[in-house]
């Protein structure tokens, strides 16, 4: 039993922990997925090994909005709820505070509260199939629901009067002396039930007598809750402070809780491994970082493109290329590599490969190059003869582009103009 409790504690607190990051959820308290309900001996020594969720349950008895409860769950890290060494009276008081006001905790007569406690006493096993999940799906939030379970209590709180007649029904299965923790799945809120909790619940419930009865009672309650859920969906959040203020925390449980909390949660680096559902989660932007650099836009990247590769870069690139395997795995890959390098023809064979540009140049521009000789050259004489030969040669050259041929001719033009003095001396340069 103790192990079971510990298990529940642990799961509860892991859920807790994960739920911390969820700041606001309008999860309906009425539809707690899981509630740890501790059987409280009626009026007797209530040795509730109450978990936080229990506390929550109790508190939420009278708190209408689920959000309240959830916020409570969120804000109260160490469950003030948790420790109930709840005397009956203590509980009663708390209950009392919550009973009256749907919105604000009030002190009330203990009677109703007591009965509510009884209500809670139900060993109700939440079966996964009973879970009518509405609301958030994530595991975190389902666990949060667990913490914020107030299923039974919510209904009670709202409809104290309504529930009273039911309470008798619910109180019947009390086999008083046994303290059993059950985990309820709140019907509405989350779609996923933590399997651990479910199994824990069933394990816990298995020790219960009157199991079937409790079960049916719970089902009825859940259906009720569902009905109420719509109305209560907009929870109001204003009671939270009062609720928290009213929470009693006994030292023993707090220590116990935080102890387990620390064991699971924190590593020395504060990031912690979450055992169970969470695992190692790299939620990057929210985690602690070195905080030395600040994210900027990419304006600094420009420099790198400008700098020429230095010897270091070439050496590094060489090292990289040595360390990876660029070899082809088979003949086909080898052929692909060769084709890319140009060592192999590209299939299907295209005779004009590489000559696409030239296709658009008309042939007469290659052949009839006389027009370039019209200016810049003497029209008679050895120079002219020479240039005509040059043009004849160029026109028969299939390897040069038109531009290259023109450049040849213009080179000659410049050359002969530079040497004009020499040519004039030799009486060769005739215009």
């Amino acid at each position: 039993m103790a192990n079971m409790y510990r298990l529940l504690f642990r799961t509860v607190y892991t859920a807790r922990r994960s739920s911390v990051s969820v700041c606001e959820r309008t999860v309906f308290p009425a539809k707690c997925d899981k509630a740890s309900v501790f059987r409280v001996a009626n009026g007797g020594g209530v040795k509730a090994l109450s978990t936080s969720s229990v506390r929550l349950c109790e508190k939420k008895d009278n708190v209408v909005p689920s959000t309240n409860a959830d916020d409570m769950a969120d804000q109260t890290e160490s469950p003030p709820l948790s420790t109930q060494k709840a005397e009956d009276d203590g509980k009663v008081d708390n209950m009392a505070t919550r009973v009256e006001k749907p919105v604000v905790l009030q002190r009330d007569d203990g009677g109703t509260i007591k009965q509510q406690m009884d209500v809670k006493i139900e060993q109700i096993i939440a079966k996964p199939k009973k879970v009518k999940t509405d609301g958030v799906k994530s595991g975190k939030e389902s666990l949060l629901d667990l913490l914020g379970t107030m299923k039974v209590d919510v209904t009670n709180k709202r409809k104290l009067t309504n529930l009273k007649p039911q309470q008798n029904y619910y109180t019947t299965p009390k086999s008083e002396q046994a303290e059993v923790a059950t985990v309820e799945a709140s019907s509405k809120k989350s779609e996923t039930l933590d399997p651990e909790l479910v199994s824990a619940a069933s394990a816990a419930a298995s020790t219960l007598p009157n199991r079937s009865q409790a079960e049916s009672a719970l089902l009825m309650k859940l259906r009720q809750h569902e009905a109420i859920a719509e109305a209560q969906k907009k929870g109001n959040m204003n009671n939270l402070g009062e609720i928290i203020a009213d929470m009693k925390v006994t030292k023993l449980n707090r220590r116990q809780n935080t102890g387990t909390y620390n064991q699971i949660q924190f590593d020395e680096d504060g990031r912690g491994y979450k055992q169970g559902a969470g695992g190692f989660q790299i939620s990057f932007l929210r985690e602690k970082r070195l905080d030395i650099f600040s994210p900027t836009t990419g304006e600094d990247e420009v420099d790198f493109a400008v700098a020429r590769p230095t010897l270091w870069d070439m050496d590094y690139a060489n090292w990289l290329s040595n360390s990876i395997n660029l070899m082809p795995r088979n003949g086909l890959e080898e052929m692909i590599q060769w084709t890319k390098e140009g060592k192999m023809w590209q299939y299907p064979i295209n005779n004009e490969i590489g000559l696409e540009e030239e296709a658009s140049v008309p042939f007469h521009e290659h052949i009839f190059l006389d027009k370039h000789l019209k200016e810049g050259f003497p029209s008679q004489g050895p120079v002219r003869h020479f240039m005509e030969l040059v043009v004849a040669g160029l026109s028969r050259n299939p390897y040069l582009t038109v531009q290259q041929k023109r450049e040849h001719i213009s080179w000659f033009r410049d050359y002969f103009q530079q040497k004009e003095d020499v040519l004039k001396e030799a009486d060769v340069y005739l215009n």
Binding site: L285, K288, R289, W312, D315, W319, I324
Partner: protein, 532 residues
Amino acid sequence: MPETVSLVLEEVSEEALKERITLRKVKASVDMYDQLLQAGTAVSIETTHNLLDLICLYCDREPVEGGGPQTEDTEPGEGAKKRKIRFQQSLVSPKCTWEENNNAERLFNVLPERDTRCYSALIRGMAKHGAYEKAFSMYTGLLNERLKADIHIFNALIISAPNVREKYTERWELINELLTHMKEQEVRPNLLTFNNVLQALKRCGTVAKSKSLQTLYEMKALGIAPSLTTYSYILEIFSRTAGVVQTTSNMLPEIMSELSGKSFTCQGPNDGAFFINTMKMCLESIDLEQGYKIQSLLECGENWRLLGASFHQGIYYGTFFRLLCEREHIDVVLKWYKKLIPTHFYPNSQGLGKLLQALDAGNRLDLLPQIWQDIRTLHHEDKSHLVEELLSLMTRDKHSPEVQESFAACALDVKGVFEIVAHGPPLEWSPSSLKNITSLLLRANKTQQAWEVLQLFKSKNRIPPNQLLDDFLSACHSSGSAERALDLVRLSAAFDLPATAELAKRTLAEFQLTEEQRAILSDLVSVTEFSD
């Protein structure tokens, strides 16, 4: 650079200097530079930078064929070997040590004005070749001259930080300080910076754990995608502090799911080591699921290229295969066996030993002769432990006749191996191997060959066990050769075995013998009995 390229420009000019630098002739370029200085010619700053880069990269020595600077004991042939294991070397493994007052420093001190690039060349060279303290003092000099360092300086200093401080916390503080300087000088970090931080953190003890994660988040916040090397370093750090099993179960799945399906390009020389390290982790914690994930990541896209040379492929696949043999069903193991061998790697003898165990566990001992053929193909038949294990597995239980036949054939083959002198001294016959081979042959009714092996006992000075002799006698009985039985008894008498008497009696009882044979046997009986 091939050695045959000779210099074209001989005159003292900057062009000649540039040529020498391009050809990576360290000494020649230094000489040319000195000559230019003496002649009073100014050398452009660009060329000076390149010259300094050259000298610092090669640690003032000539580059070898393999691409690195010449060490004291290197020869040309070693270049190839060095290339092979280059994978393991980090960026700063000093192949040669930075000498005091070498040319780089000398030239540096002579320079009229030094800018960041000069410092950068020097610091990088010092960090690469082991002069870590000097690198840091040079950095201080740079700060004193109110210059700004560049990213390469910081990268080099970060990686050298663990070498200049002793205590873990001091190391981290130094790294932190460098990063802060980076921020102040407005130098943006890049992937290599953070990888160097993590690599340095590996040597920072317990501090490393939290800081490594913080570094990772910093990278993500700055938009720098972590590479495989990053994850590899983080996993290493966590393995050291938190233990391999825990890391494998906690961190590795997360990282694998983050990386799954992505195709990587090589961003660092040690990217492929990620696969090897993670597979080793999986083997240690015997996590088959993660092993499969790593394998699928490897097969994704071109990631397999990152593994590099066949050497590393062998390590990776060998580890993977061992993991499979540990846990997987024998059929799956065999499927992977066919797939991986020999296309991807050649298993070593440990891997084959593991395979034999897996066959045993999966009750597929009938495949042993085929595996023996593979062993021969892979040239592992000279590993005595492998052969012993194979034989003992075959001999241990009795199997169906066909299987026994195949085992006997295999045993003959093994016997043949024992006599090969091809690669050095032949295998040593151990008593168990002799016994096993004999038993196998007997079981398959190859009595003649078994007899030959039995002779070997004598020649190799080994004692045949009693059980074997009994079996042999039974085999002789079933084949009805009394002569052989007699020889057997004589053999055991030659060994002076105490069981001789028993054997003799059995022979007398079970066999039909001639008078002569009976006489011999009775003599043997009495001899041995009296000698007791």
